[in-house]
């Protein structure tokens, strides 16, 4: 009797094994074919000199040539610098989002309506939103410059067409798009702070600033940290906005790594060289993730 029981449970275990593999198989196969193999492919191709149109026979091993070239490629170096400048949007978004989320969470009526309003740019299509900003920022007849001129500013900047203002304009639009997402996450974080902490502080007679500094800020630090890291990684993936609005111009002033990668791979058809850019992008994201794991223990109060 005991034996049959065991064999039944064993066969059930074996069945569950097979079922388990079948359940995860579609996702795993998809990920292996569409992510794992391509990443390894990028790694290998980055050491070659190749235009894929010429066929597989034309692949030439180039050693580290691509990487040496990258560091003398002024457009690529500019894209790295621009990506680094773009990081500034992350703390700006965080500070604005924290301030607004505290107001929305505690100090206003119709909380849900405010969440929706700030969230609109995030759910809207970037292409459509970018087209709107393109018109708003139009140098001569856009509403922004018309308003500035009516306020007595004779020569307002040309915004997206201006070599000095194009990048800041894009950064401003980026903050506008991501603010709502950050607010939603912050509100969720704020609501998880235990109320009795504030009640205890009230009994001690702490003022608003002290409560913010000593309760809100430390308790919300995991959220801040999460938004900071995903935000920074996000800035390195930025592409749509640039492709629609400036295509890296004027004079490479708004180009970013992914735009360079796209342009090199699909317009200039330099497959190997573009792959070396992909590898740099991958390494940057890896370094940020690694740094996050190290920093998490030090900075975040759980």
């Amino acid at each position: 009797m005991k034996r049959t029981n065991k064999s039944i449970s064993l066969s059930m275990g074996a069945k569950e094994q097979v079922a388990g593999y079948l359940f995860v198989a579609p996702l795993m196969i998809g990920l292996i074919i569409l992510t794992l193999i391509p990443v390894i492919g990028s790694l290998l191709l980055s050491f070659t000199n190749w235009n894929f149109v010429a066929g597989i026979g034309a692949i030439k091993f180039a050693g580290l040539d691509n990487f040496a070239r990258l560091f003398h490629d002024s457009a690529f170096m500019q894209s790295l610098v621009n990506n680094l400048i773009f990081i500034i949007t992350v703390p700006i978004t965080l500070i604005l989002a924290l301030a607004l989320s505290i107001l929305i969470d505690k100090h206003v009526y119709m909380k849900d309506a405010f969440k929706v309003v700030y969230f609109l740019p995030y759910i809207s299509s970037i292409v459509a939103v970018a087209m709107v900003w393109q018109v708003l920022f139009h140098p001569s007849f856009g509403p922004v410059n018309k308003t500035l001129m009516s306020m007595g500013i004779a020569n307002p900047p040309k915004w997206l067409a201006d070599i000095d203002f194009a990048l800041p304009s894009l950064m401003m639009i980026q903050v506008w798009i991501l603010l709502g997402y950050n607010i939603i996450i912050y509100i969720a974080g704020l609501q998880s702070i235990p109320k009795d902490l504030y009640e205890a502080a009230d009994i001690d007679g702490a003022n608003t600033w002290v409560k913010f500094r000593n309760i809100t800020l430390p308790c919300i630090s995991p959220t801040t940290f999460f938004l900071l890291v995903t935000g920074i990684i996000g800035t390195f993936k930025i592409f749509d906005l640039i492709q629609v609005l400036t295509q890296g111009g004027p004079a490479n002033s708004t180009t970013v790594i992914v735009y360079e990668l796209y342009d090199t791979a699909f317009n200039q058809l330099k497959t190997g060289y573009a792959s070396s850019m992909a590898l740099i992008l991958f390494l940057i994201c890896l370094i940020i993730t690694g740094a996050q794991m190290l920093a998490q223990k030090k900075w975040v109060n759980y």
């Binding site: 094994q17 097979v18 795993m28 990920l31 391509p38 009526y109 087209m131 506008w176 990668l261 791979a265």
Partner: protein, 273 residues
């Protein structure tokens, strides 16, 4: 209930900031209602003096635009269904079934999550070129069908399902798939709805994959289609704005229906992309 004065003041202040914040949307909407000659009138006519709504939208909605719209609708729906199905299968496997190598596989999935999608773009293109999937809708749907974030999110929901339900399914003699399909999945319906809505929005808004993987104008999605507007009509801004409004509209409808789910889903642990 006593009304709180400072709360009223803050509500008004925040409402003003909020209006300022969505001013670009209001401008877009208003411009799409006007004849072209009024679009850049200054001071801005927020409420048009001359209405040209029907003509503008009629012009936009004739010709290719309908095709782009249809392409987007069916690609987005197909992608969402396949993606949610694939992800919920995997999420169930990773959370409710025991099999050898499960944890190793999950670590691999976690590791792949750190790969920026653009790092695999070039070999993806080569692979699809080899498989003749470039410039096809099937290729585009495949590209967006496997998502790690979906598996993570749905796994969280499945972990909230008590194992007793799963066991009871087994007791009744239901197979693994039936237990999943008829017991577990209905139990996490709100979670599935949340993820499906997010996936719909992300797929509808996808620009990078269609840009790179589609070549024929007939196959374009709405995001590529509205970019062609300049070519088609010259710089006619009232029509461009009507196109932009049309491209955002389905998202607003979906968001209006599933607003609560979307916001809960996003707060759930910060979901993105």
């Amino acid at each position: 209930m006593k009304l709180n004065i400072s709360k009223i003041i803050w509500t008004i202040v925040m409402a003003l900031i909020g209006v300022l914040f969505i001013l670009p949307f209001l401008w877009m909407l208003s411009a799409s209602f006007k004849p072209e000659t009024d679009v850049f009138k200054f001071p801005i006519e927020w409420i048009p003096t001359h209405w040209n709504v029907i003509e503008n939208y009629k012009t936009v909605w004739s010709g290719q635009f309908v095709r782009y719209y249809w392409n987007s609708i069916y690609i987005t729906i197909a992608t969402t269904i396949i993606n949610v199905f694939v992800c919920s299968l995997a999420a169930y496997g990773f959370s409710k079934l025991r099999f050898r190598g499960r944890d190793t596989m999950f670590v691999l999935v976690l590791a792949l999550y750190m790969v920026p999608p653009q790092a695999s773009l070039v070999p993806q293109f080569l692979l699809f070129n080899w498989l003749h999937l470039i410039d096809t809708h099937i290729g585009l749907i495949l590209l967006n069908s496997f998502s790690i974030i979906g598996a993570f999110m749905l796994k969280q929901f499945f972990m909230g399902v008590s194992n007793e339900y799963i066991e009871s399914g087994k007791m009744d003699g239901a197979g693994y798939f039936r237990t999943f399909w008829q017991i577990a999945l209905p139990l996490i319906r709100p979670g599935v709805a949340t993820y499906a809505i997010l996936r719909f929005i992300w797929t509808w808004n996808d620009y990078q994959y269609p840009l790179i993987f589609l070549k024929s104008k007939d196959l374009f999605t709405i995001q590529l289609g509205i970019r062609l507007f300049g070519d088609q009509y010259g710089d006619v801004y009232s029509l461009m704005m009507a196109g932009a409004v049309s491209a955002i509209l389905p998202l607003l409808i979906i968001f209006a229906i599933g607003q609560k789910q979307v916001i809960e889903g996003i707060s759930l642990g910060g979901v993105k992309g």
